[in-house]
Amino acid sequence: MLKIIVQKELSVYFRNLNNIFLPLIFFFLIISIFPLVLGPEKKLFDKIIPGIIWITTILTTILTSNNFFKDDFNNGIIEIYLTSDSSIELILFLKIISSWFFTCLPIIVFIPLVSVLFNISFDSALVILATLIIGTPVLISIGIFGSALTMGLSKNNILIPVIVVPFYIPVLIFSASAIEAVSIGLSYEMQIYILLALLLLTLPIMPYLLKYTLRLSINN
């Protein structure tokens, strides 16, 4: 059973192999907008590029998780989940993981290249990579939670980020602070541990929370 569910969740994305490249293209596109808008001053840009990478990743997660359940809700698939005897928690978990897989992972894989392109030091690149790997699943889960809350509403493109982004802040702060720490030669272990703790706190609870939320949301 598990195999089929994983397969289907993935094949919605895989249908188009392009879909793997989309978040990547989006990522580069947004990153390349920053110098256009902030001016081409290289020093400034080099200084803030880790931050920009993070901001851009946040956008990607906001866009991906926005209206995450809308199609499933409109098609009545959520109703099937809620009346199914197989483990919905598992399905929801797989949904989180596969959306992470197709939106954040491509970005993460390309971080080494990005680091070379933008002269990010090896140590910094490593920390950026680590914070992204640990942080993005949390962001994606929170975003998906937001769209479960608002599943039945229309015109909620901006509503969901407004609800969700405040919850992003701990992840952002610890990631930024780890990156800052490594850049001035301080230890950043502590921050990584805290990020890990956030991940371990969020990910196991999220499927149950999502199920509960979907049940509340559908009962309108």
Binding site: I4, I5, K8, N75, G76, E79, S86, N219
Partner: protein
């Protein structure tokens, strides 16, 4: 097996939708819920499946409230709603595969079952069509095809006949009769009077 709705009332947004509905169904019963538009058929059906909360009263299977943790309702009930519960981007086959994976009563080796279900409703030729390219009636048949696969005994169906052509309607009625013979229980809503086609149909007018 026995499913019963006990003095159920439901409000939505503080509007009374229905009040004091009672219904008890035993093995081989078929209940047709009819009533004019907006009388609350869909709402009742959703309550029976536990999707819609009741204000008072309850639904129980073998005398266990479905809200109860020990209830077996989720292992017994299969719900085919108004909406087709299909993913538009997946093909007919893939959709059925996914839906059968969500139903533990179906054997893990379900490939044959899926082909049987598609053949039953004559949609085998659309096997590899993404659902969004199907006609409305064929979408409905795809979502009804779950019933061919499942071993669940309590079928709860909201206007299953909509968009079906005459031939498919007959096919579907035969499926219900088959369930009746297997001692299954069927609850369905429809505007069509099925008492000519099916014997011993119970009628609930809302």
């Amino acid at each position: 097996m026995e499913i019963s709705v006990n003095s159920a009332s439901c409000y939505k947004n503080d509007n009374l939708i229905f009040r004091d509905i009672n219904l008890t169904l035993k093995n081989s019963d078929i209940a047709l819920i009819s009533g004019s538009n907006g009388s609350g058929k869909t709402t009742l059906i959703k309550s029976i499946c536990g999707i819609q909360a009741l204000e008072s009263g309850n639904v129980s299977i073998n005398d266990v409230d479905i809200e109860n943790k020990n209830s077996t309702y989720i292992e017994n009930i299969i719900y085919v709603g108004h909406k087709n519960s299909l993913n538009n981007d997946l093909t007919v086959y893939e959709n059925l595969e996914y839906l059968s994976a969500l139903d533990l009563s179906i054997n893990s080796n379900n490939k044959l079952k899926i082909e049987e279900a598609m053949n039953y409703f004559n949609i085998y030729k659309y096997k590899d069509y993404p659902v969004k390219n199907l006609s409305e009636g064929n979408k409905k048949k795809t979502s009804l095809a779950r019933l061919v696969m499942t071993k669940k005994k309590i079928w709860v169906l909201d206007e299953p006949l909509s968009f079906l052509d005459d031939k498919s309607t007959d096919i579907f009625i035969n499926l219900m009769i088959k369930n009746q013979k297997n001692k299954g229980i069927t609850i369905l809503s429809s505007h069509i009077d099925l008492s000519k086609n099916i014997e011993n149909i119970k009628h609930l007018r809302m």
